[in-house]
Symmetry: C2
Amino acid sequence: MKKAVVLLSGGLDSATVLAIAKSQGYECYCLSLDYHQRHVAELKAAERVANSLGAAAHRTAQLDLSMFGGSALTDNNIDVPEAPTDGIPVTYVPARNTIMLSLALAWAETLGAQDIFIGVNALDYSGYPDCRQEYVSAFQRMANLATKSAVEGKTITVHAPLIDMTKAEIIKCGHALNFDYGMTVSCYQADSEGRACGLCDSCRFRKEGFANAGLQDPTHYQSRV
Amino acid sequence: MKKAVVLLSGGLDSATVLAIAKSQGYECYCLSLDYHQRHVAELKAAERVANSLGAAAHRTAQLDLSMFGGSALTDNNIDVPEAPTDGIPVTYVPARNTIMLSLALAWAETLGAQDIFIGVNALDYSGYPDCRQEYVSAFQRMANLATKSAVEGKTITVHAPLIDMTKAEIIKCGHALNFDYGMTVSCYQADSEGRACGLCDSCRFRKEGFANAGLQDPTHYQSRV
């Protein structure tokens, strides 16, 4: 079996990607990042998802990105917006996907894996620059100049299977693979039980996705919603 | 003053880069990485160097790369070679420069800095792929697609001023800037006092560099040498 490193946040998108990678026959090594994010409940969700889908391994790297700040997800003094905002919202975390892909690259090299999966998508999303195909392609090109394995011929492919899918299409895809989205936590300000606010960007895209897919939303919401 | 993030390991090269960045008028924000490296003495050296050169700030990120292993610098079961080896040596750390540059990118964005300095060089070096100009250029290109700042026009330049210099040229450059290399630790297996083994690749390049530069080697060696 071919090994793949799958970045797993615990949210809807990366869980779907894991289900896709499994269905394509990869042995999946799941990597999560505890970056002192506000919505730490997503890390428990990642563990549930990895176990449920039979990942070969699941590791959580510890890296405190609050040392750099600059995001509502790592700085408790910046509120998570509960209505749409103009431009790239304050929930953007500087260089987060670059850092996570870099860690995936390190693990891929020591595993001898040539495939990395990431759940970015550029349709129903918040406009984060590191969720676009041109970014993913540039990362892959850089990665293939960065490592000993790559320069010795074992090149890396960064798979972003959701990149051109709407949220509804992503949900339908996971549904077709029998994945239970009730395990996932997307909310940027989920409580410690993983219950969602229902108001942030991430909740909004998720809610609309289930509605547009014509599927029941299994999200656990906070009572205030 | 323009702000720059300077990657500072505590070794000879990155210290020279900090001296260069300072001489070019940058306000320097130094970033080190405690990745559970064998030669942890280099982190104390980084602090000495940052203080001595008047860095605006110095931070050390904590990220345990021994979770991925695959290097003599993060796995105590792999010995540091004490003689030259063929190919890329086992002291190579998977994706290390990519991870460090990614962290520098995150900090640069929150600081509003558009310049990152890294002390890689591709002449008197161990053949690590992430020390070559084509790699640095590919990282910069990726970085300028990755961040909110970059897509809004504040692009990033990754400076690698040592890339085409020999070790002797690097040392002469630092010497011309009045930098005291006695503060730095290059050895891969330095003891807790920062004393060098004198035998590993890193010690060998450094020793030859001082000899070729015709300058006195201020390195503190272990008594076994």
